[in-house]
């Protein structure tokens, strides 16, 4: 009962603290809005570019390849890409150099030789992707045709081209910028629970109320549990509020598994509370606040709070794996946009394991002290 009594007091105190409201609600919402709007292009699935022209030449190609290439050229045209046969006598490479075409493809049964202009990087990348896709598809169809001939069995009776169908795995489930920053800011603010938690015990010391708590018939374990519970509940309330605001005000998508998402976030809060308490008890001064601010900022940066971490490579990319935000962001995003709950459960498991270790450290430190 004393644990609940102490937890209730923590919740009431936090709800009365205007700066907590500002920090835990206004800060993530404002950042979400600013980053979500400012970086919306970075998450957009389409880009406006002008007409793309590619020249080609077919030498010594089989009828199947010639026919496939023709289909490819027609399909490309529907997507605004003009694929023209190089007029006889012209040099394709020269034409690309002179920027008459973005690229030139020399098609034969031996393969496709591709030449592009370094000044048309985006167009060239698009064409290269299309050609690769065409080559993969053609090879697959050829393999089917070959298998069908060897078995002398018509199989389904369909032409090879109809047998190959490609489906994009994530065609309709990519987060837009607001979706991404709603998740990133919420996981970041969950980590910020550590800052308030670092003062949970030490603030009782500076206010001298630790004397009353210690003189009362309440065990150190009850005081500790009450503090952890109260802090976790109040931070969870803020997290849910941020989620709801991001959903209803900015249309952020939280997917079809809100329970799993909440599980990740609440276990992250618990881990952050344990971390904050441990740091607060080790430093026993305002230095803990500064340490946590620096730590959380670095963890946020490398963990994908401001930019998707897939963009990082090298040292920062390696460091990012140690940021709690990385696994929590991944757990939530994959659950929300991939529809799979396993990543959420994995992230929650990591969080719980971290929380257990950190709270055990706190318990050890408390047991060593005469008063909490």
């Amino acid at each position: 009962m004393n644990t609940l009594h102490i937890a209730k007091k923590e919740i009431v105190s936090a709800l009365r603290n205007k700066s907590t409201f500002l920090f835990m609600l206004a800060f993530p919402i404002a950042l979400m809005l600013i980053l979500g709007l400012a970086l919306s292009n970075a998450f957009s699935g389409s880009i406006e570019i002008g007409d793309i022209k590619m020249a080609y030449k077919i030498d010594q190609a089989s009828p199947a390849l010639a026919s496939g290439w023709e289909s490819f050229a027609k399909a490309a045209e529907k997507n605004g890409v003009t694929i023209e046969a190089l007029p006889s006598g012209e040099d394709g490479k020269q034409a690309v150099t002179e920027a008459q075409y973005a690229a030139f493809a020399d098609v034969s049964d031996k393969g496709i030789a591709y030449y592009d202009n370094s000044r048309s990087t985006i167009e060239s990348n698009i064409l290269q992707g299309m050609l690769t896709s065409f080559a993969d598809r053609y090879n697959l169809e050829a393999a089917f045709a070959s298998a069908g001939a060897s078995s002398r069995n018509g199989g389904s009776g369909q032409a090879p081209a109809q047998l190959v169908k490609s489906t994009s795995l994530t065609a309709d489930s990519q987060p837009n910028s607001m979706d991404y920053y709603a998740v990133a800011m919420t996981t970041m603010i969950a980590l910020y629970a550590a800052i308030n938690a670092s003062a949970l015990i030490e603030s009782e010391r500076t206010r001298h109320t630790i004397v009353r708590l210690s003189a009362a018939p309440v065990s150190k374990a009850e005081i500790f549990a009450g503090k952890v519970l109260g802090s976790t509940v109040i931070n969870a309330i803020f997290i849910v509020a941020v989620m709801l605001i991001s959903h209803f005000a900015f249309g952020a998508n939280w997917g079809d598994h809100p329970g799993h998402v909440l599980l990740v976030l609440i276990t992250e809060v618990l881990m952050a509370v344990g971390f904050g308490l441990a740091v607060g008890m080790i430093f026993r001064s305002k230095a803990s606040h500064s340490f946590l601010l620096i730590f959380i900022q670095i963890a946020s940066f490398v963990g994908g709070a401001y930019f998707p971490v897939n963009d990082f490579g090298g040292f920062i990319g390696a460091v990012s794996y140690y940021s709690p935000l990385r696994w929590n962001n991944a757990g939530v995003i994959e659950t929300v946009f991939g529809g799979d709950t396993a990543p959420a459960l994995a992230a929650a498991g990591f969080n719980l394991a971290g929380a257990v270790v950190l709270l055990a450290v706190c318990t050890f430190l408390i047991r060593r002290r005469e008063t909490i």
Binding site: M1, N2, H5, I6, K9, V12, S13, R16, N17, R207, H208, T209, I210, V211, R212, L213, S214, A215, A216, P217, V218, E370, T371
Partner: protein
């Protein structure tokens, strides 16, 4: 019956003994004064009685039960008024008292009644909805007391409860202490103000270097000092006074200056008043009054410890 029995109590911080083999008893129903200069060991002793610190050696019994073994029983019956204000500024007076009283297991209407009772007792009944940050120093001190008494403890430990407050609030608190005692509470009271201790305490212990060097009633303590007297000399100005020459006069034990008053402690059997007065005249002092005082608690403390209580 003894409410507190302390035997061979020692508390060491490293090699330093803050409390050194202390033995003491407090009887039920008394207001016990605990006198000592800063660092004498008062707060450490109080902290051990309130179960805030563990003794290095020795034991403390509360109503005959060892505190270490019956901590819950002792804590339920002891209230502590810490020297530093121990209240939450962001919670109302009512919420503060309710939170701390709630730690003693009280809930619902019983809790409400006790909280209201405690706040009324300290004269904050009409301020129960206000935040302490809007209170004066004296009101905060009274709230500090209310938080310690709502669970109706048998023993209340008050550590310097009147520090830094106005005379009106101090008087209110002293009257409250007497009233709590009349209601059956035993009080363990520490203060730097000798006159407070003289006014309210029925028994007093003087602590120095972690040991009790004297204890008893005011009269018993004063009776210890039979071989010294205090001479008070009021002068127009103490400018030019040579204290060292005064101390060289036969029988003079110590010299203190309090504004325009020179307090000289001297051996009782030596007639040295003439020498003292002549020295003061030589120093250019304009003497306005001379008075010989019987020993008071301050004299006793000074004689026994060699220093002032406020040192």
């Amino acid at each position: 019956m003894n409410i507190i029995e302390i035997g061979g109590l020692t508390k060491k911080f490293g090699d330093f003994a803050a409390v050194d083999n202390m033995s003491l008893t407090l009887k039920e129903g008394e207001i016990f004064g605990f006198l000592g200069a800063n660092g004498a060991g008062k707060s450490t002793t109080i902290s051990m009685i309130a179960s805030l610190l563990r003794p290095t050696k020795g034991e403390i019994k509360f109503l005959g039960k060892n505190i270490a073994k019956h901590a819950h029983f002792a804590k339920m019956n002891i209230g502590i008024v810490p020297q530093d204000l121990a209240i939450y500024e962001d919670m109302t007076a009512f919420e503060n008292v309710r939170f701390f009283a709630g730690l003693y297991g009280f809930r619902g209407s019983e809790l409400k009644v006790r909280v209201e009772e405690a706040l009324s007792f300290v004269g904050l009944g009409d301020k129960h909805k206000e935040l302490p940050k809007n209170f004066s120093g004296g009101m905060k001190r009274r709230l500090n007391i209310a938080c310690a008494i709502a669970h109706r403890p048998k023993l209340i430990i008050m550590d310097e409860p009147t520090v830094g407050i106005d005379p009106h609030s101090r008087n209110y608190i002293l009257q409250s202490v007497k009233e709590l005692n009349r209601m059956g509470c035993t009080i363990l009271y520490t203060s730097h103000y000798m006159e407070e201790v003289e006014e309210i305490c029925t028994r007093i212990a003087i602590v120095d270097h972690g040991k009790i060097i004297a204890d008893g009633t005011k009269e018993q303590l004063k009776a210890i000092i039979t071989d010294s007297k205090e001479i008070w000399i009021d002068v127009k100005s103490v400018e030019g006074l040579n204290q060292e020459r005064l101390k060289e006069i036969r029988g003079v034990l110590s010299v203190r200056i309090e504004e325009q008053r020179i307090k000289i402690q001297s051996r009782a059997e030596i007639a040295n008043l003439n020498d003292i007065v002549q020295q003061l005249i030589r120093d250019g002092m304009e003497i306005r009054a001379v008075e010989e005082q019987a020993p008071n608690l301050e004299t006793v403390f000074l004689t026994l410890t060699g220093r002032n209580l406020r040192d």
